[in-house]
Amino acid sequence: MSDMPSQNTAMVTAKNVSFTANGQRLLNDISVRITSGNITVVLGHNGAGKTLLLSALHGLITPQHGTITGPSRQKQKMVFQKPVLLRRSARDYFEFLCPGLDDSKVQNWFKKAQLCPQMTTPARQLSGGESQKLALIGALASQPDLLFLDEPTAHLDFESIGFIESQITAARKSGTTIVMTSHNRAQAERLAEHVIFMENGKIVEIASAKTFFSSPQTKAAKTYLKHY
């Protein structure tokens, strides 16, 4: 198994995980140990298996082979690349994601995300950036131990990207372990402490972000970094 270059305890561990769908092996003998309190960015080309890896680690799909151990369902959250928006107001949607918060805390989160004017707007009428911010604060408000983010800033404007990155950093500082995918090299360099590089459903390289971006070990990673 490949260990993260850290002495911290494992937050989530996958051992020899394989997942096949329609006769295609989409995750191939994945073994990874993600340590607590870090930001890990999963990189790779489209179709490399990044989202599927996050889904498997989060428990949304059940691999045919291998084992995954992690925190309980209540202690982990996932923000999808395209948030699943319920047919209700932004506030009601937020409260569905994170039930039981008192009104002042709800207000604070909306204020933080600059979404106060949109509180009563139907969630499905929010813009891409607004809905992504809403999904993120909904996940962060419950202070999860482990947070999965699937391309949280894809197709968003600079303001939304700035907000989301600041929240990711803040969550990490308060102890949340973050595993995210990204296609944005600059963003990965800004946020990542560890990098998992995937190709064709396999983990090709795991390294600290510094090592990965300065001297990648595999040819696949070198080629990838040339293009991104």
């Binding site: 949304l60 319920l86 009428q125």
Partner: protein, 235 residues
């Protein structure tokens, strides 16, 4: 009789708010609305369960409810008649030839509609919501509650479809209601009776009311769908 005479009589009865005519309209509306309420009360949770859960016999229930969609109303009337007649298993209720039996027959008729249509809506919604439900670890009853709440707009149009079917029903209600004046005479059974007697005026008046109701149901359905689509609340 001139061609236009029934229309003249019909409008005269309607504009004078003829007491018997109004009583028939009231009874029709009460029976059909009760039947729709009962069918939604049972049908929506069943639709949501069929859409969101896998269990043995699920497919059999789907096939049964789809088969009942095409059940002839007179057969439903006959079955309810046998059930609630004095020698039947529900004979003790004493509801034969009362509006209760008519509401029961209409409920049985529209229940498969509410199950089939709501199942379709809930399936669409459940496919979309399932990753979020799984991610949040939402339990099965909370899922059903969420699906029913979020499909509320589609459910209004389902209710209107059920109402349209119930109010226009004649075969079953005439069997179990008996078409008794001041007791179980509704719009459709009155139209059938009065036409057979050659009294086309009252039949036409009730026909106009039925058509107006059908028109209003459709307008309301379109309006509600369009309004909530704009608000991003459609399914």
């Amino acid at each position: 009789m001139e061609f236009l005479t029934p229309f003249k009589i019909a409008f005269s009865l309607l504009f004078s708010a003829d007491a018997e005519l109004m009583a028939i309209i009231r009874l029709s509306m009460t029976i059909s609305l009760s039947a729709v309420a009962c069918s939604l009360f049972v049908g929506l949770p069943v639709g949501a369960i069929l859409a969101s859960m896998k269990f043995p016999g699920r497919q059999a229930i789907i096939i049964l409810s789809n088969t009942l969609l095409s059940m002839p109303p007179v057969i439903v009337g006959l079955i309810i008649y046998i059930l609630v007649s004095q020698s039947g298993p529900l004979g003790w209720t004493g509801i034969l030839y009362t509006p209760y039996a008519m509401a029961l027959a209409q409920t049985v008729l529209v229940l498969p509609i509410s199950i089939a249509l709501s199942r379709q809506v809930f399936e669409t919604l459940h496919t979309e919501y399932n990753p979020l439900f799984m991610s949040l670890g939402i339990g099965r009853w909370q899922r059903i509650k969420t699906l029913v709440f979020d499909a509320r707009i589609a459910l209004v149009t389902i209710a209107l479809a059920c109402f349209g079917r119930a109010i226009s029903e004649v075969g079953a209600v005439i069997i179990v209601g008996g078409n008794i004046r001041h007791v179980s005479r509704v719009m459709t059974t009155t139209i059938a009776l009065e036409t057979s007697k050659g009294e086309l005026g009252i039949a036409m008046a009730l026909g106009i009311v039925l058509l107006t109701i059908a028109l209003l149901v459709n307008v309301a359905s379109q309006f509600i769908s369009a309004h909530f689509k704009r608000a991003g609340l459609d399914v």
